[in-house]
């Protein structure tokens, strides 16, 4: 080599996270720069999550699986709004149209569609909130300290 073992990206990110949190942020003068230093700890933690998995692809897949279940549910109720919504290529477009239609139509099928899609969407929110917890904490600390 020159350097046969290149340092691993996660190690460098951890170095930056630790250094920002323990060395740099406590030494920053001024609210805005300090707020930025604290936010960046969260940005880099988020990067680590984004590198570990293809979040975008997993989300689409989860929602597509739920939409397959919705297809079974609406087989019994051939209202045109369900069929049209399910023709959308993007699972997010399809789910959006379905949920809007549920709000407008009500009824048992609507309830079952909502009960199928909501848990997936809520779990996606929770997972993303967990990945961005560092950003959230830094933001919240700044709001509390607003002056």
């Amino acid at each position: 080599m020159t350097l046969p073992v290149a340092p691993d990206v996660e190690t460098i990110l951890d170095s930056c996270i630790e250094t920002l949190r323990d060395v740099v942020a406590p030494s920053v003068e001024g609210d805005w720069p300090r707020y930025n230093a604290e936010l960046m700890v969260g940005s880099l933690e988020y990067v680590k999550h984004l590198l570990r998995e293809d979040i975008d692809a997993s989300r689409r897949e989860e929602l597509s699986r739920a939409l397959d279940q919705v297809k079974e549910i609406v087989a019994a109720d051939p209202a045109p709004e369900w069929a049209e919504a399910l023709q959308e290529e993007s699972p997010f477009e399809a789910a959006s149209r379905l949920l809007v239609a549920c709000q407008n139509s009500g009824g048992e099928v609507a309830e079952r569609i909502r009960a199928t899609l909501h848990p997936v969407l809520h779990a996606q929110i929770d997972a993303e909130m967990a990945r961005t917890m560092g950003l959230f904490s830094a933001f919240a600390r700044n709001m509390v300290g607003a002056k």
Binding site: D31, W32, R34, L99, E128, M129, A146, K147
Partner: protein, 314 residues
Amino acid sequence: MISQEQVRGLEAHLSSALGEPCTLGRTDRMSMGQSRAMYIAELECERSGRRKVVVRVEQWGLLGGESRDEVRVMRALRGEGLPVAEVISYEPSCEILGQPFFVMEFVEGTSVFTRESLDPYVDSLARLHRLELSAIDIDFFEMPKGPRDSALLQVERWYDVYRSGLAGEPSPLVEEAAQWLRNNAPETEQPRLVHGDPGPGNYLHEGGELRALVDWEFTHLGDPEEDWAYLIAMRGMGVMTEDAWVAYLADQVGIELDRDRLAYWIALNLYKGACIDQTALGIFIRREYLAPNLLAIGTCIHLSALKRLADTVL
């Protein structure tokens, strides 16, 4: 953060606005104010001497606000005797700072919440809501026509902001919530001026005395309950429970809030938060402005509003 060239541009702008040569000293960005970049700037002016001003700069349409109406409403309300900072100048072009901005007089005071500062603050807010629209110089806001338009205009306003700032596909829960809000919009008796972002953290006080109401970018005509809901559920959560707020407002300003209607206006405000926060992600992803607070607003802050919204009404 502000380049040397921008400093010179700002000096020329301020000298012209103030009618005397001024030089700019220290310019520090404040950490409050997410929708606008806010700078405290120290000025040395030839005749009037030292003074501090606040420069409030737009950020690529972040959170869907723009300065023109904000400046107009601030000037009008200051004329009505409300505690509003004096706007010194407004620059609608992007030529000087890369974004439109306006400059206002710096108001001494803190926005850190204290209980004693709350009474005069809610009094002022109630006074804003009582202003007769026909008697004041504000004709630039869209007037709700039908009885449900105070709600519906807001639903569509924020829906447009959310849709036009979208990075990628729509968000099913935002879409569903928008529909719920359309379907459940309550009637409003008499449209009034609504501040749009009131509560602890958004007024300046000193020693219990109210010095200024701030952040007029979301001001519009609508239902005053929208403001009370915002104050209770968005900015006031850490200060009192919803029950305590309702009791306090009845006592302090004589407002009797209907809890079902309040729930609607809380949902509308959470939806508004989710919609405007989403704009930050687009600005970040399109690399228009790479500040890490935009990443926070566009991810977890957006999602925390969306989660509360979904838990509330969906």
